[in-house]
Amino acid sequence: MGTTASQLAKDSLSEYQELTFLTKQEILLAHRRFTELLDRDERNHPNPRVPMEVILTLPELKSNPFKTRICQVFSTSEDKDGSLTFEDFLDLLSAFSDSATLEIKSHYAFRIFDFDDDGTLDCGDLEKLVNCLTGETEDTRLSSEEMRQLINNILDESDIDKDGTVNLSEFQHVISRSPDFVSSFKIVL
């Protein structure tokens, strides 16, 4: 369990290949990039955990508006501080990889958008989501009336059981009709 100092053991490599959607090259590249984020003394640690601020220095995540949510979703730490081990990092890359299925991607997308972690997307979650999408600067923020109109339209279209929130199956139903989702929900190192 865990990674040795600078090399990935061969059986770990094949195990990771079986359990994720990544190819051998991608796993090795991920290992290299992950070890670059560690300090010297952390590198000899059997299962190092990288804090969220360091993970967010990766160029692929640095300017993503959902970066904090992504780290929190994939983190397995008890303090829920968004720190990632190497295996969490592989889980992240596997979900965002080219060959991951629509199910996996839509499941993780739902969790990322669920800002309050309650299992459904309610109006507060949707408003935070739209603000992340449009940016929080003054000239790209929707007015409150426009926001209300937008959230009402979204709930009209996707809330099938009319409970005022979007649950996972309703979310997956919307996602399955989008041809671009699988190709845009992708992070490649």
């Binding site: 079986e18 299992g119 999408l133 979204i154 409970d163």
Partner: protein, 702 residues
């Protein structure tokens, strides 16, 4: 591992239990989670299920499970320990599926290594979005298509010709086809090489217009001989018929391109159909699927955010406008519709004016064919110049017209694209039609002994090939000239000189549709000319490679990303559909040349045939009887009518299958709605019972 440890390992639901509502939700979520947890080990422990599944399926499902790595590893180890029990059961099937999966992933890795410009396309997509990336993917597809088809032509026509010419096998005139006494002496005259000294700039002129040293070379149709190598001549078991090879290679080239286009269209169409019927601009789609996680850099992110903001605003505004338009008075509606009809006729008028200009320019250019020097060069390039000017000006004017028409934004884009497609492809058709009118003679056989316009065209196929070559070359030169003379200066002016005019003009935007139409136009020209200029696919490959790098440079240095983006998946299908139209145009031209016009007497591989197509029946006649009968049977009605009937049956089957799937999707959606209503009802019941039970408890405590 107990359930508690598992749950603690990845508690993603809410951690507190303050109210009953939240505990209900938590229990719902955790029961869903538990169902997922128990799904895997349960199927692992029951032996009956194991025998049905192949061993690789649990591992495949493990990848698909939404667990953190630690849990997946534990489950996998558990499965590995139980593996010996499974292996004895379906070992061959397991090994086969594992082997196939490993093979597929190896092949994919290998192909990715070879994929051309992969990293560049990724960078373009991250910085400019999927629409621009789809243009470059389309360009890459055309480069590969042209290169592979050139290999086809080289293998079957070019290399044998070079070999036979170097071995010095003499061409022959087949006596069966031509009564030599009846060929007019003039028809056999053809001297492409100029006499006397050649001035140095003549070399450049010849290079640009395909005359002079280039005319009588492997470049054009006229150089190829009608060499027919038969077994008796060579002495061994080898025979090669160059005219037949030339014609069949051209036919297979068209068929190969069609298959490639249809295969790619199938892939794109499958994606478009599975999502079919959905409103592309629906709000939940934009919000849930709008973000591109491949965006790199804060600049690209800000642009993407502004893009999404713009789209949402436009859609919300359009909704408000629609509500407003529904309340328009009758008078307003009448004026709007009459304005639209008027603008439609204006657009048609502009397009027809362009066509007339092209026809006139082609006729004028062919009449003044023999003028020398740079003025002569200008005359030969006149049709290309008129076409390019028309393709540049008319869409600009149509955009201005579209502003007056006030269609909703999505309809405007479609209408503009349709007009541009019609303009481009039909203008090429007009050029070809005028050219053919010049070649074919109108009159009786006395005035026209060679059955084609011999006085102007001693070798008309080479002239057509030269025309296509000039169109291709001019297209490339105009692109490079625009890059150097317009786009770079525009950026420098906008960046270094800030005044109101430059702010209004702004930096260039990379407009995907018109660029794609340029590619389709270039490819159609190549298809039309391939029969007469066999090296044209190679020239086109080089041209598209140069174009790729030029467009990449202009994209990164001169352009700003567009605010209105082009949808990438439906657009892939649209590009291929337009390419198919171009292919059909080229096919019509080829069929007409092969079947209707008399080949030149003085040059080319078909010089002794009445029509180019005649070589096929003649070659069939010398096949052995069994093969001939089989081929005739396939072509006859006894075979094709049952084949047609069987294809109709298969098509009906697939249509029925598709409608069944559509109906089941609608039914499942209705079921989902019902399940939601049941859930609401149950929640209300629980709340009612909760309200009752505290009163009972209070009663008991008292």
């Amino acid at each position: 591992m107990t359930i508690e440890q598992q749950r603690q390992g990845f508690a993603f639901t809410g951690s507190g239990f303050p109210t009953d509502q939240e505990s209900l939700r938590f229990r719902r979520a955790s029961s869903r989670m538990s169902a997922q947890i128990y799904h895997e080990p349960n199927s692992g422990t029951s032996p009956a299920q194991e025998e049905e599944q192949s061993g690789s399926e649990p591992t495949r499902e493990l990848r698909n499970m939404v667990f953190p790595m630690a849990l997946k590893k534990a489950v996998w180890q558990v499965q590995q320990m139980q593996a010996p029990a499974q292996f004895s059961g379906g070992s061959w099937k397991q090994k086969k599926t594992i082997f196939v999966r490993k093979f597929k992933s190896n092949v994919r890795e290998f192909l990715y290594f070879f994929s051309l410009w992969g990293k560049t396309l990724q960078k373009i997509g991250g910085n400019f979005g999927g629409g621009v990336q789809s243009y470059f993917i389309f360009l890459r597809f055309l480069v590969v298509l042209n290169f592979v088809s050139f290999l086809l032509i080289a293998g079957f026509v070019l290399i044998p010709s070079i070999v036979f010419r170097s071995v010095d096998i003499k061409p022959e005139i087949s006596e069966a086809n031509v009564l030599s006494a009846q060929i007019h002496a003039d028809c056999l005259k053809y001297d492409p090489n100029p006499q006397g000294l050649v001035v140095f700039y003549e070399f450049l002129l010849d290079l640009l217009s395909g005359t002079g040293f280039m005319e009588y070379s492997y470049m054009f149709y006229g150089y190829y001989n009608n060499t027919v190598v038969v077994t008796s001549l060579v002495g061994s078991d080898f025979s090669y018929n160059i005219p037949l090879a030339y014609l069949l290679t051209a036919v297979f080239y068209f068929a190969f391109c069609l298959i490639c286009i249809i295969a790619r269209m199938g892939k794109a169409a499958r994606v478009a159909v599975t999502t079919g019927g959905s409103d592309v601009r629906s709000y939940s789609m934009i919000v849930f699927t709008g973000w591109d996680y491949g965006c790199l850099g804060s600049k690209a992110t800000k642009l993407k955010q502004r893009n999404i903001y713009y789209r949402l605003q436009v859609d919300l505004e359009e909704e408000r406008l629609k509500k407003h338009a529904a309340s328009l008075t009758l008078c307003n509606k009448v004026t709007l519709y009459s304005l639209r009809v008027l603008m439609f006729f204006v657009a048609i008028g502009l397009i027809v004016a362009t066509f007339v200009a092209i026809a006139y320019a082609t006729t004028f250019s062919q009449e003044n064919n023999n003028v020398q020097g740079f003025l002569g060069l200008f005359y030969t390039y006149l049709p290309s110049i008129v076409i390019t000017t028309g393709n540049f000006l008319v869409p600009l004017l149509c955009d201005q017209i579209a502003l007056l028409e006030k269609y909703p934004p999505s309809a405007t884009v479609v209408v503009a694209l349709l007009r541009a497609v019609v303009l481009r492809l039909v203008s090429l058709g007009i050029l070809l039609y005028t050219l053919w009118n010049q070649i074919v003679c109108h009159g009786s056989t006395d005035t026209c002994p060679c059955h084609y316009n011999h006085s102007n065209y001693q070798c008309w196929e080479t002239s057509v090939g030269q025309e296509m070559y000039k169109l291709t070359l001019f297209d490339l030169l105009v692109s490079i000239a625009l890059l150097v003379l317009v786009e770079f200066p525009r950026r420098m002016v906008v960046d270094h000189w800030s005044c109101k005019l430059t702010q209004w003009v702004g930096r260039q935007e990379f407009v995907v549709p018109s660029n794609v139409l340029g590619l389709v136009y270039g490819q159609t020209v190549v298809w039309t000319g391939a029969l007469f200029c066999p090296l044209l696919p190679l020239i086109n490959t080089v041209k598209f490679v140069i174009l790729f790098y030029c467009k990449k440079i202009t994209l990164f240095y001169n352009c700003r990303p567009a605010l209105r983006t082009f949808r990438s998946t439906t657009s892939a299908f649209f590009f291929l559909a337009v390419l198919l139209f171009g292919w059909i145009l080229a096919l019509v031209v080829m069929i007409y040349s092969v079947a209707e016009i008399h080949p030149s007497f003085a040059c080319g591989p078909f010089r002794s045939f009445l029509r180019m197509w005649k070589i096929v029946p003649d070659s069939l006649a010398i096949l052995p009887k069994g093969t001939r009968d089989f081929l005739f049977f396939i072509g006859s009605q006894a075979f094709s009518v049952p084949l047609f009937a069987v294809s109709c049956v298969f098509m009906c089957y697939f249509i029925a299958l598709a409608s069944i799937y559509g109906k089941s999707v609608a039914m499942l959606r209705a079921q989902l709605k019902l399940a939601g209503q049941d859930k609401q009802f149950l929640v209300k019941q629980i709340e009612k019972m909760k309200l009752l039970s505290p009163q009972d408890n209070e009663g008991k405590q008292d």
